[in-house]
């Protein structure tokens, strides 16, 4: 179980001063769920994932995994990024075995597991290939095998299919659902693509921007059984509906905190009564 408890995270940037990426964020992910975090860019979804992964530390609150406070990254949580981040100085099989070597597993175990997971992602024919010989989709398959090879309970995925062509993306979406069903892993999957979230998740959490808040939290496990497809009518319909939800709850991506966390409450009061550009102007006026 992943528990995010009243977490806050601020970032210092040279142009904007301090921005609150997350404030007072709480959510719980049960074992075996496939949770999609979806929202516009800059809504803090990647930050949230990094906090769970232990790559960043929260300023306030805490993140617990299986009841234990997260203090750093660990092999119990496999991570996949938008960029495969494979190491070009290693062969495909060596890349998959990288983390197992850090865990000091024996050579026999490393080789057996590398083979097993390369089989699972349908890349067994490329074990000896070099990274620069692979296509984008193949790289992500290897990255998936690398994350799975440590046999983590939790898989954290940060827009892993975002940079792929539609065909590869489609194939990988089908495969990740398949792997999830076979292995019962807990998956937290970040995307900005609503259709992808609805197509994949057993639960979809829609986030709204700065600071990130949960706009809605939908359980799809019963409503839309897998296998689904992005073009399926129910998926398209639900994605559109959730997108609408996001707009209604006051999406103002362009409007950014000016460095004073306390002021973040004010624009929302203004936002409720105006729309789009007008809202932006109204808020800026308020600050000037």
């Amino acid at each position: 179980m992943i528990e995010v408890c009243r977490v806050g995270k601020k970032f210092q940037s040279t142009t904007r001063g301090v921005t609150a990426a997350l404030r007072d964020m709480s959510l719980t992910v049960e074992d075996g769920e496939f949770v999609c975090l979806v929202g516009p860019s800059g809504c803090g979804k990647t930050t949230l994932l990094n906090l769970i992964g232990g790559l960043e530390r929260p300023d306030d609150g805490e993140v617990r995994v299986h009841g234990k406070r997260v203090r750093g990254p660990g092999p119990d949580r496999g991570v996949m990024f938008q960029d495969a981040a494979l190491f070009p100085w290693l062969s495909v099989a060596e890349n998959v075995a990288f983390g197992m070597k850090e865990l000091r597993l024996s050579r026999a175990v490393r080789e057996a597991r590398a083979k097993k997971y390369l089989d699972l992602v349908k890349m067994s024919g490329f074990a000896k290939a070099w990274v620069h010989e692979l296509s984008g989709g193949m790289k992500q398959r290897v990255a998936l095998a690398r994350a799975l090879a440590l046999e983590p309970d939790i898989l954290l995925m940060d827009e892993p299919f975002g940079a792929l062509d539609p065909k590869s993306r489609d194939a990988l979406q089908a495969e990740i659902v398949d792997i999830w069903q076979k292995t019962h892993k807990t998956i937290v999957f970040v995307t900005h693509d609503m259709a992808e979230a609805v197509r994949l998740g057993s639960r979809v959490i829609v986030l709204r921007a700065r600071p990130a808040r949960v706009a809605c939290d939908v359980d799809l496990a019963a409503r839309l059984p897998q296998p689904r497809h992005v073009d399926q009518a129910e998926v398209v319909e639900l994605a559109a509906q959730l997108k609408g939800e996001l707009d209604e709850t006051g999406e103002h991506e362009a409007v950014d905190g000016d460095g004073h966390g306390d002021d973040d409450e004010r624009p929302q009061a203004t936002a409720a009564s105006s729309s789009g550009a007008g809202r932006l102007v109204a808020w800026m006026g308020l600050h000037l």
Binding site: P75, R77, F81, A85, F87, E102, H132, A147
Partner: protein, 225 residues
């Protein structure tokens, strides 16, 4: 006036046979390898430290860049004062000639290592020293190799300059000897040896390695497109 090629070849044969040239070659190569090994080790260490520690960069970064502008032979007077007329003095000049270029190239290469490699490795449990040996250094290898190659050339040049000025065996001294005897064929034959050794070792040490590394790391493709 220049001596004819036949005169140079004859002189080469002569000095090779009487053992003068082989002795000088061995003396120079020994100095070169020891000095280069020292500066490669120190240069890579210092470069990594500079790249990863901003306080160190703030403290000695400008000094490193500034000193690189100093031709290495300018260290010779100081080296002679410190170490006297000894092997240490000439090794010091060789080290100062190649150390900083290796340091600067390593620093640049390590700072250019994509953070995603480091993040990915951390999620798989890499920490501290292993993060360096298994991720940062391999990722920076193409840039470090460029620095090592440059450092090799500088080490060779510094050594020759040092041996020309400070007489104690080696190919540089043979050059000086040739000038003193007014024997142009002798001077030319030593120059030919210096060119062959310099080129030969550069090819041997870096030729195929650098190309293969650049290909595998994906730089060759990036340049082609």
């Amino acid at each position: 006036m220049l001596p004819g090629p036949d005169g140079v070849v004859k002189m080469l044969g002569h000095t090779l046979r009487d053992g003068e040239l082989p002795r000088a070659i061995m003396t120079s190569l020994y100095r070169l390898f020891v000095g280069y090994a020292l500066s490669a080790g120190a240069g890579i260490t210092l470069g990594v430290a500079l790249a990863r520690m901003s306080w160190l960069r703030a403290a000695v970064g400008p000094l490193v860049v500034g000193l690189q502008a100093l031709p290495s032979i300018c260290w010779l007077p100081l080296a002679l004062l410190w170490f006297g007329l000894s092997e240490k003095a000439i090794l010091f000049v060789v080290v100062m000639g190649s150390l900083l270029s290796i340091t600067i190239a390593t620093e640049g290469a390590v700072r250019a290592v994509p953070t995603m490699y480091i993040r990915a490795a951390r999620t798989m449990g890499s920490r501290r020293l292993r993060l360096y040996t298994r991720v940062i250094l391999p990722a920076a290898l193409p840039g470090i190799l460029t620095g090592l190659k440059l450092g090799w050339t500088f080490a060779w040049r510094s050594l020759m300059a040092g041996e020309l000025l400070y007489v104690a065996g080696g190919l540089g001294q043979l050059l000086t000897l040739g000038r003193e005897l007014g024997d142009m064929a002798r001077v030319m034959s030593v120059m030919v040896v210096i060119v062959i050794l310099g080129l030969g070792f550069e090819r041997l040490l870096f030729g195929s390695v650098e190309k293969r590394v650049r290909e595998r790391w994906g730089y060759a493709q990036a340049e082609a497109s």
